[in-house]
C-alpha cells in the first residue's frame, strides 16, 4: 500500500502509529522506509557519506561496524543501518517497518527518545508501523488503522482504549479487561504503578 496516500492530509512533524495487515511501499521521494535491507559491500560503502559516523552514533552503533557486510550483521543491526542511511538521506518522512521487533526494552525506550527528537528538533514526520500498541501509545499522536486498500479508522491518543480484535493489546489492557469481566470497576490505566495503586485502593476500600 502506498504510504504517502495514507498520510496525505495529515499534519507534518508528528509521530503516527500505523497498524494493519499490509505491505508498506512507496514511490514518493520524500519517504524513507526503514527495514532490514540487505546491501552489497560494506556498511561504509553502503552509507557512502561523510555523515556516516554521526548517523551511526544517532542509531546507537559505532564505527566498528563500518567494515562489516550485511551478511555479518544481525537483523536488528541491519534495521539500524537502514535508519542511519535514512538519516543521511534526510527526507521529510521516516517509515519504521516493525523496527522495534529485534530490540529489548531499553533499546526500545532509547529509540522512542530518538523519534521524539527527530520529530521535534529535526521536523521529521515519523510513521511507526507495528502490531504492538505498547510501543507507540505513549508517543504517537494518532493511530491509523489500514486494510489492503484504505484507511479504515483513525484513533486519537486519548481514545487508545478502543482496539481492533486482532492486534496485540498491551498486557496491562488485557489485565484490566479481565478485571472488568469480573465486575470490578476500574479505569483504563497505561502504567503498572498506577494500576498497582488503584488495586490497592480498591482492596483497602473493601
Amino acid at each position: 500500500m502506498e504510504i504517502a496516500r495514507i498520510l496525505e492530509n495529515k499534519p507534518k512533524n508528528h509521530i503516527y502509529g500505523l497498524m494493519g495487515n499490509i505491505n508498506i511501499t512507496t514511490n514518493n521521494n520524500n519517504y524513507s522506509i526503514v527495514t532490514s535491507y540487505k546491501f552489497n559491500g560494506t556498511v561504509k560503502e553502503y552509507l557512502n557519506s561523510p555523515k556516516a559516523s554521526s548517523s551511526l552514533k544517532m542509531v546507537m552503533l559505532n564505527d566498528e561496524i563500518l567494515n562489516k557486510t550485511s551478511n555479518e550483521l544481525s537483523i536488528g543491526n541491519l534495521k539500524k543501518i537502514s535508519l542511519a542511511k535514512a538519516l543521511i538521506e534526510n527526507k521529510d518522512y521516516l517509515v519504521l517497518n516493525y523496527f522495534e521487533k529485534e530490540q529489548n526494552y531499553q533499546e526500545k525506550e532509547n529509540f522512542k527518545r530518538l523519534w521524539k527528537k527527530l520529530s521535534k528538533e529535526y521536523h521529521k514526520t515519523i510513521i511507526i508501523f507495528t502490531n504492538d500498541l505498547t510501543y507507540i501509545w505513549d508517543i504517537a499522536k494518532e493511530l491509523i488503522f489500514v486494510d489492503n486498500y484504505s484507511v479504515i479508522n483513525t484513533i486519537l491518543k486519548n481514545d487508545y482504549n478502543i482496539f481492533m480484535d486482532n492486534l496485540n493489546n498491551p498486557e496491562i489492557t488485557k489485565f484490566i479487561e479481565l478485571m472488568k469481566e469480573k465486575g470490578i470497576d476500574i479505569d483504563n490505566y497505561t502504567n503498572v504503578l498506577e494500576l498497582l495503586k488503584a488495586i490497592y485502593r480498591l482492596k483497602e476500600s473493601k
Binding site: 536488528g76 496491562i172 490497592y200
Partner: protein
Amino acid sequence: MAVLFKLDNKTINDIDTTIIYPSSFNYNNDAIYYLNNNCVVITTDRRDYFDISLELYELFNVEYLRTKKDLTKFDELKLNILGSLNSDKKVYVFFNVLTYLDKEFKEKLIRYLKLANKRIINYTTDIEETLLLEYIIVIHDNLVIMEGTKEQVLNEEKILKKLGFNLPFIIELSKGLKLYGLIDKIYFNNEELVSALWK
C-alpha cells in the same frame, strides 16, 4: 532434564525453551546448526510452502488465506508456519517470529505444537514471550549469561534490567502487589492473579 543439543556454549535441554537475546546477536550460525540437526526452522524470510489441510486453515481461523490475493508478508508467515505443521520433525525453532503474529494465532500455534508433543525453541527479544515456555536462556555478547526455569530466570530482575530487559507485565504487577501484602506469591498469568485478588 535430558540434553537435546549442545549448540556452541548453549545447552538446549529437552524442554520448551525461550532464548532472549540483544539486537546485535546474529543467529545465522544457530539457524544453520538447527537445519543440520533436522529441525523445522521458521524465520520471517524462509518460504517453505507445503500442502495445508482444510482442517488446519479452520483450526487457526484463517480460511480467508486460501483464496486471498496480494498476500502480505504477515499472511505469508502464517502460511509458512501452517505449511510446516505436518512435518514429522520433533523440534520447531522460531527466530523472532511469534512477535509478528496476532495473539489468537500465536496461542493456537503453541497449543497445537505442545499437544503434538513437539519441542519448541523460541528466539525472541520480547520479554512477554518468556511466559509461553518453561525454560529460559539469556544471551548477551554472544554468551549465555543466565539460564534456568522461567521462575528462576524471571526472579533475577537486577540482571535482566542490567541487560536491558524489563520484567513481563504480570510479574512486575505481582511483585508490587506482593510488596503491598495483597498476595503471597508471584503469578505467571492474568486469570490466576485476578482470581487470587478477588476470590
